[in-house]
Point group: C2
Chain length 740, copies 2
């Protein structure tokens, strides 16, 4: 496999770049390497060169998940112990200072954290965005002090000791859960359990896809691993099951997840609610499963497990690492009390004593500091080497390099917008879901990072890219993702893809009502600035017979209320194209497109420029910005508003029709623009939308009328439901006449 070749090269490069002996690790005699079990698959280390450490402290730990803590301490382990304890105490001290946070996980997971960041992972601390870095996701995000401590030791500028001291404080770079938008070095935002592992599946998918598309027999330009740590909580969440089932299906061999198996959850022993056989479940999902029985001090076990995981190339690996939560705390370890609260001064002291750690808070011993300092030059070398390789690649494979560059940088190919389809009022009537498919199929060929799919509704959501095949285990270069009926996992996986590098533009699809299944992932997209495009069809009672379980009512309002989301409800082809244009251009804001199942006419007056303003006039027979009445609508009801206007105009009224395709964009316009669309003096205003009226008061004003549906829908043919629920031209006309 090319993978190991490249890895050796990288290892070689790292070694060359350090001030330590430059022999690549796989050429070292075993007595000189990190431990007897280290190999070319692990990073080389200089631990064995330091032999003057004190004997490793032996911790007192109560009966716990780890059956036995006995181990033969070798001098090679002493600096590792010291580094691991540095991580533990940075976490303890930061939580103590904040008097808030979660010390238990960092204390238990410090060994695997140390091995990952110090021995295994390839990254450049001075450029956290270096493309070919290994990705790490702390799915159990509450344990973020683990990652902050690791980033600090590894030399990331984003986490200085001052940052550690301002853990969980206003505007610090060390917030209470890992946030990619606050802290360079954090890949994705975690905390809500299960999201991180699903993001990690997306990151690993992105790597597998790019590797298949861009690597050449003579040049492996994309080649990194994705690591994650997840806890019992993540394991229990349905979203992780969904994502992990897909990871197994897709054979994401470079995804390596550590399961922190500490037997403790907030409510006590995991026995009270979680007695399933996790190993067996993951085997059923097609994962390779390894059990590290002593995660507290079994460094070699952890190293061997990673080695084994890397050797399994066709399956993701779950390394179950049994640990003791709060390891080292004599009175609180192995109990829920250490999960989410500061230890308290007394217990901190007891833990210091127990782990033989006489240092002041936030102390990093000089030898530990010095040891970790090599990551800065080594990381720079890794990037330099990769850059050189890419320059060579660019020469040989110019077109591919240009595409890959777009994906890496996020720069859009010039003129991409010209690919968007255009429509005129004469274009045939069509459902916006179909018009959306025209856009998707127009965009994919011109946007190298554009890929996506549906949660088993491709033929209903109309999301297939016709020029591409299915992304599958053996065809990962393709761009149609098949998520199965797994909405939540789909959303979170797409968040991971979007955050892999700036040029990815993932889209995903289901029925609009089933955003309820994936709302947490949509919110995480919004919060973590992941520009996913959520293609949501069957957007109202207009879907008809499937009935109220399938008919969105409150969904538009619920997303209009969510920060940093564009909630689009386009009315026709032009508006659909406009929504895609805005979505593609705004990489830090996810977009939701609510699309119709039913046919809609191409309306005169709609425009892409209008969509960019969110709300705009599509027709008006008034003069001087003083219409008798303003009719507003979105999506499939804009047609109704337009027809009502026609009738009212026949009766001599001056009527303006406004499309409110995106409230967020309209609200962001200057007041002068808003006044030009909705003049304050014109209080006769009527809105119509086949959804809740909640929120419409903002536009119809205190004297206007909002026509909508403030109840659940019903099962019947769509026309019948529209009529029975009063979403009609007649209702608009009646309301308008009552106002002007």
């Amino acid at each position: 496999m090319a993978t190991s070749l490249s890895l050796s090269k990288a290892i070689s490069a790292r070694s060359t770049a350090t001030h330590h002996p430059s022999t690549p690790a796989h050429h070292l005699p075993s007595s000189l390497s990190l431990s007897s079990s280290s190999s070319s698959l692990l990073k080389p280390s200089s631990f064995s060169l330091k032999t003057t450490q004190r004997v490793a402290p032996r911790a007192t730990v109560r009966a716990s998940a780890v059956e036995s803590l006995d181990k033969s301490v070798t001098s090679e382990d002493t600096l590792v112990d010291k580094s691991v304890n540095t991580i533990r105490f940075l976490a303890i001290d930061a939580v103590e200072k904040a008097n808030s946070g979660h010390p238990g996980l960092p204390m238990g997971c410090a060994p695997m954290g140390h091995i990952l960041y110090d021995e295994v992972m390839r990254y450049n601390p001075k450029n956290p965005y270096w493309f070919n870095r290994d990705r790490f996701v702390l799915s159990a995000g509450h344990g973020c002090m683990l990652q902050y401590a690791l980033l600090h030791l590894a030399g990331y500028d984003s986490v200085t000791v001052e940052d550690l001291k301002s853990f969980r404080q206003w505007e610090s770079r060390t917030p209470g859960h890992p946030e990619n938008f606050e802290t360079p070095g954090i890949e994705v935002t975690t905390g809500p359990l299960g999201q991180g592992i699903a993001n990690a599946v997306g990151l690993a998918l992105a790597e597998k896809h790019l590797a298949a598309r861009f690597n050449k027999p003579d040049m492996e330009i994309v080649d990194h691993y994705t690591y994650a740590i997840l806890g019992d909580g993540c394991q229990m969440e349905g979203v992780s099951q969904e994502a992990c089932s897909l990871a197994g299906h897709w054979g994401l061999g470079k995804l390596i997840a550590f399961y922190d198996d500490n037997h403790i959850s907030i409510d006590g022993s995991t026995d009270i609610a979680f007695t399933e056989d996790v190993d067996k479940r993951f085997e059923a999902l097609g994962w390779h499963v390894i059990w590290v029985k002593n995660g507290n001090t079994g460094y070699d076990e952890i190293r061997a497990a990673i080695r084994e995981a890397k050797a399994v190339k066709d399956k993701p690996t779950l390394i179950k690492v049994t640990t003791t939560i709060g390891y080292g705390s004599p009175n609180k370890s192995n109990s829920y009390s250490v999960h989410g609260s500061a230890l308290g001064a007394k217990e901190v002291e007891a833990t210091r004593s127990n782990l033989v750690w006489p240092h002041e808070p936030f102390h990093v011993p000089e030898d530990v500091k010095k040891h970790w300092s090599r990551h800065t030059p080594e990381g720079a070398s890794l990037e330099t080497e990769w850059n050189a390789k890419f320059a060579e690649y660019e020469k040989k494979y110019t077109d591919e390099a240009a595409e890959l560059k777009c994906i890496i940088t996020g720069e859009l190919p010039s003129g991409w917008e010209k690919a968007l389809p255009t429509y005129t009022p004469e274009s045939p009537a069509d459902a916006t879901r179909n018009l959306s498919q025209q856009c998707l199929n127009a965009l994919a060929p011109v946007l190298p990072g554009f890929l996506g799919g549906s949660a088993d509704l491709a033929s209903s959501n109309m999301t297939l890219l016709k020029m591409f095949g299915n992304f599958q285990k053996d065809t990962p270069e393709e761009r149609n993702l098949r998520f199965g009926v797994r909405e939540h996992g789909m959303g979170s996986i797409c968040n991971g893809i979007a955050l892999h590098c700036p040029g990815f533009i993932p889209y995903c699809a289901t029925f609009f009502v089933f955003t309820d299944y994936m709302r947490a992932s949509i919110r995480m997209a919004a919060l973590s600035q992941a520009g996913v495009i959520f293609v949501m069809t069957h957007d109202s009672i207009g879907l008809g017979e499937d009935g109220p379980t399938h008919q969105p009512i409150e969904h538009l309002a619920s997303f209009r209320a969510m920060p940093n989301v564009f909630m689009f409800r386009p009315a026709d082809g032009t508006e659909t194209a406009g929504a895609y244009r805005v979505a593609v251009l705004n990489k830090k804001t996810p977009s939701i497109l609510a699309l119709s199942r039913q046919k809609l006419p191409q309306l005169p007056g709609t425009s892409i420029e209008g969509v960019e303003k969110g709300g705009y006039i599509i027709s008006d027979n008034s003069k001087g910005n003083t219409p008798d009445v303003i009719l507003m609508g979105t999506g499939s009801e804009l047609e109704i508003a337009a027809k009502a206007a026609d009738d009212l105009r026949k009766e001599g009224k001056a009527v303006r029709v406004v499309s409110f395709v995106s409230w967020e964009l309209f609200d962001a316009q200057p007041d002068s623009y808003k006044e030009s669309v909705l003049p304050a003096d014109v209080t006769a205003r009527v809105s119509i939308e086949a959804g809740t009226t909640f929120g419409w008061l903002k536009y119809v004003g205190c004297k206007g009328k909002a026509i909508g549906i403030d109840r659940f829908g019903a099962s019947a043919p769509a026309d019948k439901i529209y009529k029975e629920l009063g979403i009609t031209k007649e209702a608009v006309i009646e309301a308008a006449k009552s106002l002007c």
Copy 2:
């Protein structure tokens, strides 16, 4: 085991009540019983008495999930075949007439459906609400014509042939997905995939709980099974994994789920997204797993599987039934095209010919009709017998009978409200999550059907009932449910409990922001009129350091927009108690309580009567309904409004303070009441709430000001965030002064 004893009794009763020979099935010689493999665990049947049927039709089916369709046809099977084909064609014909619907599942699952409703389940078609009935859930709800056909054959008045003919039409009792509130005989509302199986877990939990609490060594008064049919889609959904993991943990032995393993999903073969080993996963979850290889015609295999499932009493059972979707359709079976569309006239004819079904649409052959007709007298007998048993139980166990009666009927014990705690302004300040716990612990002893728990946050949500232990496999009589970190499964399980019988009042809890994980189940509670109480703590930025992933912003608005939900945000103990009062009294509307993590004072002026009106005046120094300004708030910000009012009054202003604890309740008040709280003439109005301002315009009016948070939160101590985001007394005063 008492279970089989009671079952035999019931079977005996059924037989006695029919006009067929009264020998109980387990006394019949095997040649006379339904098939060679039927036994006392299956219902007796009179099939073997009918021997004049035509030879069973042999269907042409393309290569499909079922490896071989060869079977030896015996005369005993002929009426079964005929009944099964009746079910198939009722589904085909109804979908064809509606030109909308899902024929594939009913055609494939007709055999298991027939066996369940005709041979296995105990129910009374003339009283669909008879307490001790077996419950059936069609988790794959799109296949609802299967269940409508079965209810029709079984004699339910809710599904006449006219109802079948109006499938999916306006106001019909046969909507596009099964809806418990439309169609007696439907237990829960399904369609959104995975919900049904999770509801079924709740139904089975309810049975296990009641059986443990109320059965006596000499009298088994609670004793029924819960059956479900789920498809590939349900299996892929995370919510089903969550619920099934709990079902295994709880050892719900009387839950028997049929997995319709047809290898087809909407996007094609399940191979494109679903290759996990489902059997192994369920074994890992602690289920007993059986595979029926020929679900199309292997009646005896199905019967044997049910027998085996019933024999396993300490585990739920998954019966994987491999079927052919659209069985019988020569050109469309075993393909996605038969999943969700009418077959079309031509293919209907081809299917009629293939299955030798020469009848007109909606025809039920006389012998089939006659055969099924016995369920009416048999069902009546079952209920009569149970009623007699209950009368006896009532004599011997008066107290238990009274409790059980409350649960069965939903009648609240008189005086229950007196148990609610009361507070005065002198009562100590406390977080509403703690005050909520006082309410929960006050209610549980007086409401026999009150039970619930948290998604691994019991000690944060404050939801433990101190007088009860944990509901566990071996202590199912207890009332603290431990859901683990499974919010979605928790919500859907609670929906199942609530719909088991009217007196159950389940509550469930997590952080308010994680309603995003369980929004689909909350919507299903609202739609299906399941009066679950959702206890949602940590309801704002007031939770502090955990940061924006944990801080709700848009959540209040998003639920205020949802039909049939009470969204409460109580400000103190009195309002918390008031919210619980409304929640308990409104069994058909779920309630969400948003509760604070932080301490709040007991405010003067709050009242339970006020809560019942949703919005009400807590203090006012104005006269004649003409205050200078109206300040409004909810929850933790009502205190801020009250303090601002104090300051403004000191400056001579006439200030009214209004609590808007539930918008839905206020909106339901008569206009005169609304005018008494918010007089139209008083346009100086300020609202304050630590959440989005979206929607507040409704109350502050076009000239008022809404103070809120229209961005994501931040990680910092709560006070700091309040100050930085402007949720302060000073902001209210400033806004008020700008208006009056």
